[in-house]
């Protein structure tokens, strides 16, 4: 057991306790949490800061409006319904087409208008929000995933998770939905995470639950060697979320839309740790490096602009190093 502890320490693996005590609590101001916990607020903030996001069709915050949801959405044939304060992808329904009062989900299954209404009232009552608070429904434009993912995505929309530490995008992975995850890109639910070289944007091995996997379990195709498009834009987009929220330890989820390019989907103030397994690298060594170079104890942090931060990342955190 102590041997394992030493091995993990040597690899600089960040533990949950250390993430919470030394990074989340230290670098994330609690007053900023509503900005990331409420997706509606995140979206308004992003638009204000010029960070591209999926288009917002409407938001619904009353039960009477939820009853008329079909009527409100009648001009749209495809859309995404999500709870503004949902977590882990729970409560999100992606409708790819509507037909005669039935809505066809990306899985191909259809739901009725009544089921849609019921789902909306559940969202409003806070079924999916942390702590069961009353919530708001977001209706967003559906993302059309870039075709580069066709071989390694099973339904759903893959996204790129970037860990941004004080404006430095320190680690990234591509999250791929599986049959197990029912189209969701959440690792806890069985999605695959493929490590991404933060310098080049090329995928590496993957992690499925807590094990390393080299292929996608549903398609059987290898995960590694895929060059993600718009990689520099993705790095820049994620890094700018630091200035936008002021949160020092942040998980940024980015989707790549076929026509609009990288869009910031949502933010997470306590992002998961399995990204380390996907990259085969501990987060702690990178976080410590940045703390040592730019955040000296007892002195004001070094002020760096976006380009300088990205240059530092490119010079130091490539997998080739």
């Amino acid at each position: 057991m102590f041997n394992r502890i030493n091995q993990l320490r040597r690899q600089g693996v960040l533990s949950i306790n250390a993430r919470n005590a030394n990074y989340v609590l230290r670098y994330n101001d609690r007053r900023m949490y509503p900005l990331v916990d409420d997706k509606l607020k995140t979206k308004h903030l992003a638009i204000e800061h010029g960070v591209s996001v999926p288009g917002l069709i409407t938001h619904v915050d009353s039960d009477s409006a939820a009853k008329r949801i079909a009527e409100i959405l009648s001009p749209y044939s495809d859309f995404v319904i999500k709870p503004a304060q949902g977590a882990g992808g729970d409560g999100i329904i992606v409708i790819q087409a509507s037909h005669n009062g039935r809505y066809i989900k990306t899985s191909g299954l259809a739901i009725t208008e009544r089921e849609l209404q019921h789902h909306c009232s559940n969202i409003l009552a806070g079924l999916f929000s942390l702590g069961g608070h009353r919530d708001v429904i977001l209706v967003e434009e559906r993302i059309r995933p870039s075709t580069v993912f066709e071989k390694i995505a099973y339904q759903g929309v893959p996204d790129v998770r970037v860990i941004v530490f004080c404006g430095f995008p320190v680690m990234a992975m591509l999250r791929l939905p599986t049959r197990q995850s029912q189209g969701k890109a959440n690792l806890h639910q069985g999605a695959i995470g493929a490590g991404v070289d933060v310098v080049s944007g090329v995928t590496q091995q993957g992690v499925w639950f807590n094990d390393i996997t080299l292929t996608h379990p549903d398609t059987g195709n290898p995960l590694s060697g895929l060059q993600l498009p718009f990689w520099d834009d993705i790095l820049e987009l994620s890094a700018r979320c630091y200035e936008m929220t002021g949160l020092g330890y942040l998980g940024v989820d980015i989707v790549i839309d076929d026509s609009r390019g990288p869009l910031m989907l949502e933010l997470n103030a306590r992002p998961g740790l399995n990204i380390q397994i996907a990259n085969g690298v501990g987060l702690l060594q990178r976080l410590r490096r940045i703390e040592k170079d730019f955040l000296p104890v007892g002195k004001p942090p070094a002020q760096l602009d976006l380009a300088q931060r990205l240059a530092f990342i490119r010079a130091n955190f490539g997998l080739a190093h």
Binding site: Q11, N17, N20, N274, Q276
Partner: protein, 506 residues
């Protein structure tokens, strides 16, 4: 960084004050560390009775002072119609009773309850010096005493051995000098009195001590001891064999060669001691002791509350302990549970149901609740009404289990009523959502995790000695807070993470 010192200082303060408080309670108030520690309380009743002679009567009796190993818990004087006064006379305390017109056979009582001191202390009186009044009366006795003193001194090294040998020599029938001194004194008291004079002759301050042996019985007779002052402390000697040391079941009652009581104007006065022993819970005794010591602390103790409320706090104070267990399971082991403190509440319910029944009943109620929840899912109810229905079903379900259990003669079934139903309802709702969103496996894992956490918490908060400790020693709760603060800054790996990150272990 100053933040960190801040925490360290706070933790140190809590630990110190917690430990200090506990030490104070244990050592000075005698609160025991084990709940069933027993201590003895002795009750001595001195009954002074006499026949009245139709004229004023005045009686005085020595009563103990409780200076050294014993402590009086409660003293009572029963003498209806008598004037009473307590006087200090040299080193004795005495009670004086008086009455103008006594009638028939009268009885006066002095009753005292006493216990051993937790912090025995030597009396801090100035030691006496030898006095002129303890002299032999005739020249020939002086001579015999001088010769005896020389003889004994030549064979002994210090006060201890001198006194022991003096006692033995006086008991020696073949020693002429001793026999001469003892001449008229054959009784124990007489012998003791001679001994005191002999020791005075040798310039050793000595006193006769009358001690009551703490043995249950009626008509217990006081016994005589000699004590000598060696310049620092009193040394006690058995008058019969010269052995040193006062046995710890001897209560010194009075000193000197006077009788224990004097009675004027009465006939046939008699005094008898009867002694009884009570074994009491040491916690209770500590409480009685604390009453005698007015301190802010004993006033501000949970023990001062009404018994009913005390019982509630006995349970409540185990909650911090349970929470500490949960913290440990989450931060060091990495167990996943429903809600943070749900397992603590379930564990509290287990205290009433016992573990096996508790697990069975919990599983039963949760399963029925889940079935209802799945059925309700089809009706597409709003969240709050749905939870209300589940809550009601849970209550009904508990009622049915109680009735069935009772009818089948299993009264354990009744205790299901103590389950925290609101918490159960939330657990059912959360579990069913996890079931739908993440599959049955994860829902059952989390449910089992909660049950395991509750069982471990139950096992720990059910340890009698811990229950006693947290209730009797508020300091322990401060130590709990200190531990929680320390866990709050623990940033190492959890046991579950060692498995989780096995792919990274190289």
């Amino acid at each position: 960084m100053s933040n960190r010192y801040h925490l360290h200082i706070l933790v140190a303060l809590l630990l110190l004050s917690g430990a200090g408080l506990t030490y104070y309670q244990h050592v000075f108030l005698g609160v025991p560390f084990t709940p069933d520690a027993q201590e003895e309380i002795w009750t001595i009743e001195a009954n002074l009775s006499y026949d009245a002679r139709n004229r004023p009567a005045k009686l005085s009796m020595y009563i103990p002072e409780f200076k050294e190993n014993f402590q009086s818990l409660h003293e009572r004087f029963v003498a209806d119609g008598y004037g009473m006064k307590i006087e200090q006379e040299d080193e004795n305390r005495k009670v004086i009773w008086s009455i103008r017109t006594p009638q028939g056979r009268e009885s006066l009582y002095y009753t005292v309850s006493l216990a051993r001191r937790t912090d025995p202390q030597q009396a801090k009186r100035p030691g006496p010096t030898y006095t002129q009044k303890n002299r032999f009366s005739t020249a020939i006795e002086e001579l015999a005493a001088e010769s005896l003193t020389q003889e004994i001194r030549s064979k002994t090294a210090d006060i201890h051995t001198f006194v022991t040998l003096a006692i033995r020599t006086l008991s020696d029938n073949s020693n002429n000098n001793a026999q001469l001194l003892l001449d008229k004194a054959v009784s124990e008291t007489g012998r003791a009195s001679v001994l005191v004079r002999l020791l005075s002759h040798a310039h050793i301050p000595a006193q006769i001590i009358h001690a009551v042996p703490l043995k249950e019985g009626v008509n217990v007779a006081p016994r005589i001891w000699i004590r000598c002052y060696n310049g620092e402390q009193w040394l006690y000697f058995d008058i019969n064999n010269g052995d040193e040391g006062l046995p710890d079941d001897m209560l010194p009652w009075w000193q000197g060669d006077d009788a224990v009581f004097t009675a004027n104007g009465v006939r046939n006065p008699e005094l008898s001691f009867s002694i009884s022993k009570d074994v009491v819970n040491a916690v209770r005794l500590a409480r009685i002791r604390a009453r005698g010591k007015p301190s802010a602390f004993s006033e501000f103790s949970l023990s001062s509350l009404p018994v009913q409320t005390q019982i509630v706090y006995q349970t409540l104070l185990t909650v911090p302990l349970g929470v500490l267990v949960i913290l440990f399971l989450r931060s060091f082991i990495g167990l996943v549970t429903f809600g943070t403190f749900t397992p603590v509440l379930i564990a509290l319910a287990f205290r009433e149901t016992q573990l096996v029944w508790g697990i069975f009943l919990f599983t039963l109620v949760t399963s029925i609740g889940l079935l209802v929840r799945f059925y309700l899912e089809q009706l597409r109810l709003l969240l709050v009404p749905r939870m209300a229905v589940i809550l009601t079903v849970v209550v009904c379900c508990m009622g049915v289990i109680s009735i069935l259990g009772h009818k089948l003669g299993m009264d354990r079934g009744l205790s299901v009523a103590l389950f925290p139903m609101v918490i159960l309802t939330m657990a059912i709702e959360r579990m069913s959502i996890i079931w739908e969103e993440r599959g049955a496996a994860e829902a059952i894992t989390t449910g089992l995790g909660s049950l395991v956490a509750a069982s471990i918490t139950y096992a720990i908060i059910n340890i009698t000695i811990l229950q006693h400790l947290v209730f009797a020693f508020p300091g322990i709760t401060l130590v709990c807070i200190a531990l929680m603060l320390m866990i709050g800054r623990y940033s190492g790996y959890r046991l579950s993470e060692l498995m989780r990150f096995k792919a990274l272990a190289k």
